[in-house]
């Protein structure tokens, strides 16, 4: 493709444009003595002329733009959208950019039912777009896309990509690249290079055919363990070219390596011959893994350890087999994505990706000598994806189970159920004694927020979208985490500015699934990318945000307080740079400004329950809601 002049493309000439804006700009560089001149100039010579009748007709859509060459009949970006549709990518979260206007136009206009699968989701910041993909991925175990402007949008997105990489979140990041026609500052030879250390795979295809294949590969790579973000850079030409009769390639799903039948037989006989087998379950890739793990546990009547209150895609917390079990120490332990058991199945770890760090930055402590992230594989650690291996183990168990073993298993299951229930009641009673502390305190105790939310949502399908560590994680003791998405977990790279975006992504997943998302939102974290409040309002996402508003970056305040003590030079200035005072931020107003229903600040704990009820009601009706609660610091 050769570069057309602006006139040929139907615009005003670049020279004329620069000429007129230079004249307008001259006013601002007049010498001081001529201070009154700009105003005088402004009133006599309008800087912008009223539109001509022709321009007006164009503006309101009555006239087609002048063209000198025909638009593509079957533009390349239509095929790209068809590929995304075939992959069942529900959403493309994006902040608009000229390097992908072709693709954006296809998303919103192409097909029988345009702008559905994928739907274009307006993000206010590229970091938010990626956080949304991250929240969605943790909730559904599958990717959506973030679409960002190369190179600037990708730089905005980079920290969120880094966090998603640590979070093992599958997503496909599409990046527009316009190398010739627009701003040189927005292009680069190797656009994806800036995020290569913390993405799993990337491509910068030269042709449309390659682009379609590369999107398939990016998708496969993203969902193959270790799951992670992948990148495809799409040139403007590729998006805009005439595809002619180019066929859309067929998608081949990845083949995920499992254990062998012989290994499965050994595990099955271990589980079946043990007096007291136990299964430790970590995080799977998709809900299918959980379904299979429940099936296996039920088949062998093993007591189960779950990570469900800590993160997504894990064994349901209130399953009767979950708990210490009836029979004391286990004599056979199987780890599913949990290392260190007698036999552990662990999918490949991110450490195997360190070779992608071509810059040698050794990002993110994946450099083993600093802090090894995992104990080295033990004798019985099998490097195989647990989720993919479960069907093989289940068949082996079914083959090996006879009537007598079945009877033993049934009896054991009943015993476990009883003991686990008692253990749970004990733990709950103890926890409730802690939760009632400071119950009537003002500002409000964080435990009270979670306690009063529970009766309102327990009969709904709910998901905790954002991290909860700073607000006390009280849901761990008080709520029943029985779905793959009950709690999506913390900040995987401890990087703030994530909660709202992740919860918004979880709410995208929730919107058409009759589910609501709870986001207990810290104030510091919110203020990095609050724009997702608007995204949630605009797209009518079922998200209840309850502020854990301690008016501080409180964790940092405590660190500085300690440091002040060590140095002995005063404690009364520790609030500098660690608190959000002078002025206080009004989050209800902030939400209102973004078009979200809201109320607060609430500091009287007796007003909390009613506010939460209003919030839940609103969210059930598809209207996101924010409640500003002034809380105890921790």
């Amino acid at each position: 493709m050769t570069k057309k002049t602006d006139q040929e493309n139907g615009g005003i000439s670049r020279r004329a444009f620069i000429g007129s804006s230079a004249a307008a700009g001259a006013a601002s560089i007049l010498p001081k003595g001529a201070a009154a001149a700009p105003q005088a100039t402004a009133s006599t010579v309008p800087v912008s002329l009223p539109p001509s009748p022709q321009q007006m007709a164009r503006e309101v859509g009555d006239a087609r733009p002048p063209t000198t060459f025909r638009a593509a009949v079957r533009p390349g970006s239509d095929l790209i959208v068809q590929v995304l549709r075939d992959l069942e990518i529900e959403y493309v979260a994006s902040n608009p950019g000229s390097s992908f206007e072709g693709l954006q136009e296809s998303i919103i206009n192409y097909g029988e039912i345009p702008n559905v699968m994928p739907e274009f989701i307006s993000a206010m910041h590229e970091e938010s777009a990626v956080d949304m993909a991250h929240g969605y991925a943790k909730s559904e175990g599958r990717p959506i896309c973030a679409l960002v402007q190369g190179t600037i949008g990708l730089q905005h997105a980079s920290m969120a990509i880094y966090q998603a990489y640590h979070g093992l979140a599958p997503m496909v990041i599409l990046v527009g690249r316009d190398d010739k026609h627009f701003l040189q500052a927005h292009t680069a030879d190797d656009v994806a290079g800036v995020v290569r250390s913390f993405t799993k795979w990337d491509a910068q295809p030269k042709t449309l055919k390659e682009a379609l294949d590369d999107i398939h590969e990016a998708y496969r790579q993203a969902i193959t363990p270790p799951c992670a973000p992948t990148v495809v850079v799409l040139d403007a030409e590729v998006q805009k070219e005439e595809a002619g009769d180019l066929e859309i390639p067929a998608y081949r799903p990845p083949v995920i390596p499992t254990i062998t039948t012989a290994q499965a037989d050994k595990i099955a006989s271990g589980l079946l011959s043990a007096k007291n087998p136990r299964i430790s379950v970590g995080r799977f890739r998709t809900p299918e893994g959980i379904r299979r793990a429940v099936e296996l546990a039920d088949l062998v009547g093993a007591s189960v350890e779950t990570k469900s209150p800590e993160g997504p895609m894990s064994f349901p917390q209130r399953h009767p087999l979950v708990g210490p079990g009836a029979d004391g120490d286990a004599d056979y332990e199987l780890g599913l994505e949990v290392p260190g058991a007698q036999v552990s199945l662990n999918g490949p770890h991110l450490r195997t990706l360190t070779e992608r760090d071509l810059t040698g930055i050794n990002f993110g402590g994946i450099r083993p000598p600093v802090r090894p992230r995992q104990s080295p594989p033990g004798e019985n650690d099998l490097m195989a994806d647990a989720e993919a291996s479960l069907p093989v183990i289940i068949s082996a168990v079914q083959r090996q189970t006879d009537a007598r073993t079945r009877k033993t298993i049934e009896q054991r299951t009943v015993r476990h159920g009883k003991v686990n229930h008692e253990a749970r009641m004990d733990a709950l009673r103890e926890a409730l004694e802690k939760k009632r502390e400071g119950w009537d305190a003002s500002p409000v105790s964080t435990a009270r927020i979670y306690a009063e939310l529970w009766p309102l949502i327990k009969d709904l399908d709910w998901c905790i979208g954002g991290p909860t560590r700073f607000s006390g994680m009280h849901h761990m003791d008080l709520w029943d985490h029985d779905r793959p998405y009950s709690y999506l977990g913390g900040h995987p790279a401890a990087a703030l500015g994530y909660g709202l975006g992740a919860a918004t992504g979880a709410a995208l997943a929730a919107r058409d699934r009759d589910r609501i998302v709870i986001n207990v939102q810290t104030d510091g974290d919110l203020n990095y990318t609050p724009g997702s409040l608007w995204t949630a309002a605009h797209h009518k996402l079922p998200m209840l945000t309850v502020m854990h508003n301690n008016r501080a970056w409180h964790m940092e305040l405590m660190y500085v307080q300690y440091m002040s003590g060590v140095r002995g030079r005063g404690h009364d200035r520790a609030h500098i740079g660690t608190t959000l005072r002078d002025p206080y931020i009004d989050y209800a107003k902030m939400a209102e400004g973004y078009g979200m229903k809201s109320e607060g600040p609430i500091s009287d704990p007796n007003l909390l329950a009613a506010a939460l009820a209003r919030g839940v009601e609103s969210v059930k009706n598809g209207e996101p809601y924010l409640i500003d609660v002034l809380t105890q610091p921790r």
């Binding site: 709950l428 009632r436 502390e437 400071g438 405590m558 060590v566 404690h571 609030h575 105890q632 921790r634």
Partner: protein, 142 residues
């Protein structure tokens, strides 16, 4: 054992060995007199950041309300505790109780804070009397 743990044990022994009966939760501690001004103490408790880890009302990461550990039992012990925290350079960020040297928190302010802390009383309703908590308990029984 860290210096602080040693110190705390030392205090514990000191208290237990002399005037006070050392107590599990619920038992009585004999409290010494209060000489500071609780009203001033309220502001100082905020300004010197005690609220940050102990909550605005003494319920927080480490509770001070209903305190029965002994350190709060008299002013002298409390002052000693404030002044004798670790003051070595920590390389790892920590959120534990800071040292409060005399130069940065005067005895007077510290004792006002003491008076304020002594006024804390957390008396929440029983679980059975808090509908939200009771509902959680009842549901779990099933």
């Amino acid at each position: 054992m860290t210096i602080m743990m040693k110190f705390k044990n030392h205090i514990t022994a000191l208290v237990a060995g002399s005037v006070f009966i050392f107590c599990p939760a619920g038992a009585q501690v004999a409290f010494g007199p209060v000489t500071g001004d609780a009203e001033n103490g309220k502001q100082a408790y905020y300004d010197y950041g005690c609220y940050g880890c102990h909550g605005f009302n003494g319920i927080g990461r480490h509770n001070l309300a209903n305190d029965v550990s002994g350190i709060m039992s008299n002013e002298a012990l409390y002052l000693t505790f404030l002044r004798a925290r670790a003051d070595q350079n920590p390389l790892f960020p920590t959120q534990s109780m800071p040292n409060y040297a005399k130069e940065s928190l005067s005895d007077e302010d510290a004792l006002d804070i003491y008076a304020y802390i002594r006024s804390f009383k957390d008396d929440p309703p029983e679980v059975e009397d808090i509908p939200a908590l009771k509902a959680i308990l009842d549901a779990a029984k099933e």
